[in-house]
């Protein structure tokens, strides 16, 4: 095709996409009755709220927040370890180069996708009905979420490994399990470590959110202090949470650098 004509076509396409986009934007603004004035007023209100009501942080209850912090970390560790074990099993059954049966693979992928795509706050609520209150429903929903996430990323890492060494073992007459142990797992190890550490970071964040719906941990302190209008305490809790998350990220990053 003549390049000039092609260029024209691209231009027409671009115009059309732009038009489509603008139409979608207009529809959206109309549908949720988006009021631009309200929006522009809303942001300063929000920022003022953060600055005036939250500052200065009130650290008088700081001792009281240590237990939730510990809770959150313990939740994170337990959920990460358990879901990494379950995720490992799922991943090997799911990855196309290690799956024992294609049908199993498809079924598992479906289940995992379902677990992942239903918000984990919904899972938490269902688990409360099953197990009652306390740590259990929170932990279990973190695990459900973790299994779904990890089995997917583990499976992707397994699929990404170099298949040539596996072939070499095949040629030497190795069995399925031997190939798994000697060719697949060693290559998958860096991916496993890296994703598991990442999962730990995510669970720490997630368990902070969990607290907002009554799952305990540091998040419930945020909710409680806000409900009591003790915003300056909320600021303290959020600061503690930020420090905790940054510390965890820093730590996992160090471990990752050391181990891989």
């Amino acid at each position: 095709m003549h390049p000039e004509i092609k260029l024209k076509q691209i231009k027409v396409k671009r115009r059309l996409s732009l038009l489509l986009f603008l139409a979608a934007l207009a529809f959206s603004i109309w549908y949720i009755k988006f009021d631009f004035m309200e929006f522009m007023v809303g942001i300063p209100i929000f920022v003022r709220f953060l600055v005036v009501d939250f500052m200065p942080p009130n650290a008088s209850d700081i001792a009281k927040y240590m237990k939730p912090v510990l809770d959150t970390l313990a939740f994170g560790v337990a959920a990460t370890v358990i879901s990494s074990m379950a995720g490992l099993l799922f991943a090997f059954l799911m990855a196309n180069n290690t799956a024992p049966h294609p049908a199993l693979r498809v079924v598992l992928r479906g289940i995992v996708s379902f677990l992942r795509n239903v918000p984990f706050l919904v899972w938490t609520s269902i688990l409360v009905v099953l197990f009652g209150v306390g740590a259990m429903p929170g932990i279990f929903s973190l695990i459900l979420f973790g299994v779904a996430f990890l089995s997917r990323v583990y499976a992707e890492s397994i699929e990404e490994i170099d298949k040539h060494p596996v072939e070499a073992l095949d040629a030497a007459g190795a069995t399925y399990w031997q190939k798994l142990k000697h060719a697949v797992i060693p290559q998958f190890m860096p991916g496993y470590i890296s994703w598991t550490l990442f999962m730990f970071e995510i669970t720490i964040r997630a368990s902070a959110v969990l607290g907002l719906v009554g799952g305990g941990g540091i998040g419930s302190q945020i909710k409680q202090t806000m409900d009591l209008f003790q915003y300056s305490k909320t600021a303290t809790v959020i600061t503690i949470m930020v420090i905790m998350i940054l510390a965890v990220e820093f730590l996992t990053q160090r471990i990752r650098e050391r181990l891989i």
Binding site: I45, V129, V133, G134, G214, M226, D227, L228, F229
Partner: protein, 279 residues
Amino acid sequence: ACGSSGSAPKKFVIAYLPQESDEKRAEINKDFETKLYQQLGVPVESFKATSYNAAIEAMKNSKADLAVFGPFSYIVAVERAKVEPIAELTLPAMAGKPASVIIVPKNSPIKTVADLKGKTFGFVDPVSTTGHLLPKAVLVKQLGITPKELESGFFKEVSFAGGHDKAVLGVVRGQYDAAATASMIPATLESKGLIEKDSYRVIAESESLPGTAVGIRGNLPQDVKTKVKDFLLSYNYPEYFKNAFGSADAKFIEANDKNYVRIREIAKSLNLSPEDLLK
């Protein structure tokens, strides 16, 4: 949402707070909004707020104009958002009945509140009237101790379940030795099939509560307030009350801030008065 203080609003926003006593609300009947619109001449919108401090902050920021409060949230709202009482919602079915209960599992050895010493206990939420304030007052009164003593060392452990249903589930599923909740919640959960029949036992009951307060944003023009008040007092569409508050024979009556004196006392005695919170 609205114009600055004093001027007439461009639209009128109603917030329904999470009610501690409510049944499932189907979509709130539009009849109320339509008629109010005819009265005020500006569009009327309504929201269901999931947390009561969101609703109170909204009124403070002139983003909501009218709200149906619970007793405790009402006294906080008066303080924080300069809300004025405009009417009161009465539910004849609830009148004179205990507002909250303290329950234990069916076959628990606990017979009286005195037996609760050294046990685990679940309240609903620090800001819940029926799930925290009233039951705490009951405990303080029946045990004859100070709130301080109750908080430090009477129980083995005190938790906030995060919801009335969760407090009940906590008792029935065995995580709490006892819990406080609004009086009709256990029966509701029973009817939903979430807990088995007769799986709990009531060991203490609280006093009854005044009606639900309806508050209006204080800095609205007087004529708007008057119009809204007149409208509320004359409104009588049973379908609306059934959908919004679970009882067809509910109605709006003249507001009386005096009804909340008792709640204020209780809150004060438990160090949860608005002044304590908002200092």
